[in-house]
């Protein structure tokens, strides 16, 4: 499965668009929302289920569409803290499920500090599609839940 490179936190602010000025332009074939990649992750999500051993867990929901997610995180005890394993459970639309699948794949093995600094565009880039304002809540639910879950990690 091809994943995209996450841009540095400096370029990953909401409102910036590292993929070019896509908003307001008609969709190209490549920007089709339900690309095979998204649908693959929706049908067979990676890292789905409950971890046998985890140090952190957090749940959240998107009241707009009823998407629910629970994140399980295994963080290494020594400094620098590393996210050694991650999984999620939950249900929702293709965008929220694919985002959770892609994001959990991408951040596994990364430093906690690095994950804390991720922003909306990191997720949008992983998805590789144009996300409308309303759907951004679906796309960002997993990131929000993961970052909330990491709040307790000192």
């Amino acid at each position: 499965m091809k994943t995209h490179k996450i841009p540095s936190p400096q370029t990953a602010e909401m409102g910036e668009d590292p993929l070019g000025e896509r908003l307001g332009k008609p969709l190209t074939e490549e920007e089709e929302l339900y690309k095979e990649n998204i649908l693959d992750h929706y049908r067979s999500p990676h890292n789905k289920g409950q971890l046998k051993k985890y140090t952190q867990t957090h749940s959240d929901l998107n009241p707009l569409c009823g998407d629910r997610i629970t994140i399980y995180l295994q963080v290494s005890p020594n400094s620098p803290k590393i996210l050694t394993d991650i999984s999620f459970e939950g249900s929702g639309c293709a965008i929220s499920q694919a985002a959770a699948s892609l994001l959990t794949d991408n951040i596994k093995g990364k430093k906690v500090e690095e994950i804390r600094n991720l922003g909306p565009w990191d997720v949008f880039n992983l998805l590789g599609i144009r996300i409308s304002h309303t759907r951004s809540k679906c796309a960002l639910l997993s990131l929000k839940t993961i970052q909330h879950g990491l709040q307790g990690v000192k």
Partner: protein, 410 residues
Amino acid sequence: MDSNMQKKGSDNHLDVDFQQDFPSLNSVTYLDNSSTTQKPKVVLEAMNEYYTRYCANVHRGLYTQAEQATQAFEKAHQTVAQFIGAKAEEIIFTSGTTESINLLANSLGKNLLPGDEIVISIMEHHSNIVPWQQIAKEKKAQLKYLTLTDDYQLDLKQAKKIISKKTKIISLAQMSNVLGTINPVKELAALAHKVGALVVIDAAQSAPHIKIKVKELECDFLAFSGHKLCGPTGIGVLYGKKKMLDNLEPSKFGGGMIKEVELQDSTWANLPEKFEAGTPNIAGALGLAAAIKYLQIIGLNNIEKKEQELIKYALNKLKTVPGLKIIGSQNNKNRGAVISFTMKNAHPHDVAEILARENVAIRAGHHCAMPLHTSLKLEGTSRMSFYFYNTTDDIDTAIKALHKVNKIFQ
């Protein structure tokens, strides 16, 4: 009156192109009428006329424009009153159904005692749940729910068991915003009155589609919104029997609602001003009155007939979409123009998104009815809802898009 307007009142209700009255319908197949409806030119013109020709506050100034605004505002009360068979003083303008029900929950709630019961149903919109839930918590009263039969109707047997002498208030939707079910509110009002309970009808979904006569429904209060019947947003109605409103304490205080203000106490104005504190939504009220007049030219019975045809057509067409399950009665009888459904392989949000990309506007989610979806073990549904200006072509466009959903999510 032009020929199109004359045609509107005739029996050939299906021949009329209503969409030409709605500038916003040019660019979209709009099937989200349970959320809000589009606005005809006459409504926009009525509001524009107020703002451009006689913009003044009501009940205050002595100059011409203030006189004109006051008269128009009072006439709007009369138009609404006549629309539901009430008296003008029984019509309170609010910001919408939600504010109307909040007003009732706060005012009626003052008299609740611990152990008293409020009865609503599992199919209610959040606006007819949360206000009661909160006042019940505060007063240590019980909130009880009527449940559904397998055919998505209120279970009247269970209702007879639940409604008891402890019941003080019953508040029910006349029509479900998810299932489309039209509830037998008259029968339930009779049950409620037998035990001395007050009856509140949430007519947000029904008022746009069904002819309402409050006397026939025998309700004590009834609430609806302007924007769901071609009126502007931010204006709604609370009807209350005069006797009830006379005895009810206001819950909003300020200018316009008082008779006399002393340093430590005040007395209240007559109805309906007693419940209309502050400068009202004047343009909204005038827009609502214009919307009601527009609907009356078409005729509520013609609207109902046209919608029945649309529901029947849509139910038949939807049955041809593989994997689609209708959440609500499959029968077009006793059912309003809203159809919720699920699709086997696609989440409601994805369904709505794909339709949106085909320029078809529907809604997805729990439609402000989480307890209903939870009770049906559904995360959400997709919903299409019609109004008289929709056509069978609109339904065909939506059905085509639903087949595209299946193609993507096969």
